[in-house]
Amino acid sequence: MMKFIGKNMDRLDGVDKVTGAGTFATDITAPGMLYGKILRSPHPHARIVKIDTSEAEKLPGVKAVIHHGNVPNNPFNTAAPMYTTVPYLKPVLDQLIFCEKARYVGDEVAAVAATSEKIAEAACKLIKVEYEVLPAVLGIEEAMAADAPDIHPPEITPEGKNIVAEIIRIPPGPPSDALQKGFDEADVIIEEEFRTNVQKQCQMENMAALAIVKPDGSITVHCTTQTPHPTKAILAKAFGVPASKIRVTNPPYVGGGFGSRIGLSGKSEVVAVALSMATKKPVKVVYTRKEDFTATDTRHASIVNVKLGAKKDGTFVALDLKGYTNTGAYCTFGAELPGVLGAMTLAIYNIPAIRYYGHSVYTNRTPAGAMRGFGNPQGNFALERVVDMMAEKLGMDAKELREKNIAKAGDPWFLPYPCSSSELAECIRKCAKSIGWERRGNLNKDSSHIKRGLGMAVGTHVSNAWPFCVDYDNAYVAIQSDGSVNLSVGCCDMGTGISTSLPQVCAEALGVKWEDLTITFADTASTPFTIGNHASRGAYAQGTAVKAAAEDAKQQVLDYAARLFKVSPEALTIEDSIIKPVEAKDKGVTVVDPTTLPGAIEEAAAAPVPPPRDHKIVKPVNTQGPQKGISLEGLAYYAHIRNKQFIGVGRTIPPNAPPWHCVAAEVEVDTKLGTVEVIKMAAAHDVGTAINPKIVEGQIEGGVVQGIGYALSEEILYDSKGRQAHTSFSAYMVPTAEDVPEIDTFIVEGSDQSGPYGAKGAGECGLVCPASAIANAVANALDVKVNELPMTAERVYELINNH
């Protein structure tokens, strides 16, 4: 019977956040602080011929003006894993603090530190930049054409014109004839192309960094990064400063992330540090919402080609997948993301012959990087549409076709870790029941202009980035001299509740009272290295390290206590911060002073000098039972006055395990206008064990609503001059509270052994399937092909009228 795992513990940061007392990077100030503002390129592609900062420097209140010519130019990549990637993908370090050539509208050209934001903005306008405008390309096909301009030096695009890094092939190596043989077995083959548009994370807190560079060269940065430790490493590289002189911290909260700041938060940290170096004062850089839209990583727009072959009984025999992702002006995550698109899409169904070919393409648009799902939503949309089309062609129910082919626990597959568990079949059952799947096909009996449809999608994801990226964690658990416990882990809580879930793992593993446990997190000065929070890895990977640290601490405590009890350590356990015999688990014990235990008496007698006088400062514990126990406080104090602290250390590389999910949607389409209304969503997730079910539900629900936006209304389009058209919340339509349908959320518990207490990844999973399910529902309602997201009213209207 678990005390903390699976329990809806109230979030530890709840009171801070509902009272406004909790601080975010945008709230932090420092004495003598200056404000930094960035000058950005108005051109999508332009050489910078000359920068004249003289007028700007003269403006009263301006303390520094910086640009490519007067800051370090060590190349880096703002994306964390890219900087520390595994050997078989070479790092693409194609970014500088300020560009030497503008590659998109918004590229950082210069920055000013001044005594107010207003003055800094005014000074930016006084910087004179002479540009030589170059031809620009915005689309994938356009950028790959032979006559397209080279956005980066061709040396870094050896695979082809504007092709980022290496082409991803699954399986690796040159193609064999296995795939063709697979298609030869097919009775039906469907081949389709799909396009998805740019989506934006729209986390509520904008990018922010307060950098304090001191005269001794030490650098402190309070910022919005999701990965403090890797960000520290990036800053060390960018500035040529030892990492040991740098401290990066969230102070302690981050207002959302969704992938927008894995690594640097746009350029806010590097610009703030550079300005602080130049002015020798603290400098704060806070992005505006417009800068967030135009100059921070978006989701990749994509073109995905699917060719699926099946036998007439519905068995899938071959799948050929191609993915092209528009990574914009800089690589950030563009090298590895196409791999995730391919891998996660190929992994859903058990298909004997599979192949993936994919890569990113540079264009003169806002860089695309990591956004919740990381390529998976794009591939999922494409394949799940084709599965529905296949079902229709075969005359089979779309749910049954999926159930027949989904990968099952223990199935062999191509991923470098086992398919260790899957409750996807149960997820499908739950969604189908909730949405009323049996009604599908019978919803539009009359000739009303309102058409109803049901759709479903299934998918998988990861529980961290091992072994695709460098991925590991450390944690320590230090028992204080009063028995209270500090857990230290460098995670970032951007809303996922990891700063509550990890203490739940720790408290469970250690046996300590909830109120005695405090977590220190995010600050690189007081936590050991963790790769941070992305890839849905918090609970699984960081939880593994925390569990190891707690178990290590527990072992040290039991080893020590065993000497006092004069039993072997295996005979003892810790429960509710009381060390007691194992047989007394779940039962009361009489808590005694450790000095009265037989081993302690022996120790005292054998001591060459009298032992230290034990002050009566340990609180008595008034429980009773036939056996004896000692409080953790009593033991910790006993040890402390004998010069010992129990510090458990966890150093772990996680394995990986697939979470699974199913989403079903019911929609209503007004065929006279093309508008789509979502009536109901059902989402069922196999996350193994939900450490905190309420938190997991919150992640799923948030993902569903982001998915509604991805499906119907969210996109960033560009005009012919390469300028973003959607640059504010008034143009970019995320769902409001009045846009949310009924949502049924199901956590389906599974039995995976690889993660802490059976947990698997959850964070990104919520956004993998909802748009695919809605697309399938719309296609079902209208009996049309849906091949593009988002399904705006205008696009749907065209589909209806060109049918």
């Binding site: 109230d10 009171v15 801070d16 509902v18 009272t19 509520m204 919402r289 609503v705 409001t736 959320t745």
Partner: protein, 165 residues
């Protein structure tokens, strides 16, 4: 530029601020009064992170010149708890899991409070209308609505027992 003096009531206390004449209320709250609970999400009135209550109405403080609030009664998130005791709305947000990153929370709690201070029996449409001007990207609004409905129940129970408002 000559500074102006603005007097208003903030969370029940009389307050006097000296600031530039064109400073916006949200900046006066955060910078002059060091109350950083009210957040800035967009500065365009499009996200509600800056929501405060003025004379009983929820408004976007990023669009209100400080000068405009002369003589008015303003409530911010810092004034919602009563001497450390959480308001039922705040307690409900924690209990129902309605808080994730917390950046929208102050604004959305103020919108909910403005509603419940006037209307103790809101229907679903009225609750949604009250918070539709607050963007939350984390929760999908589901548990936020649960929390507000729960707060309604708690507040009505308190009244029924003759308790505090």
């Amino acid at each position: 530029m000559k500074k102006i003096t603005v007097n208003f009531t903030l969370n029940g206390d009389a307050v006097e601020v000296s600031c530039e004449p064109d400073k916006m209320l949200v900046d006066v709250l955060r910078e002059n009064l060091f109350l950083t609970g009210t957040k800035i999400g967009c500065r365009e009135g499009e996200c509600g992170a800056c929501t405060v209550i003025i004379n009983g109405d929820a408004v976007n403080s990023c669009l209100i010149p400080a000068a405009k609030v002369m003589g008015k009664e303003i409530q911010t998130i810092e004034g919602v708890a009563d001497k450390g005791k959480l308001h039922p709305i705040q307690a409900a947000f924690i209990e129902k899991g309605a808080v994730q990153c917390g950046f929208c929370a102050p604004g959305i709690i103020m919108s909910a409070k403005a509603l419940l201070d006037k209307n103790r029996t809101p229907d679903r449409g009225e609750i949604r209308e009250a918070i539709a001007g607050n963007i939350c990207r984390c929760t999908g609004y589901v548990k936020i609505e649960d929390a507000i409905r729960h707060a309604v129940r708690v507040l009505n129970e308190k009244s029924a027992r003759g308790g505090e408002k």
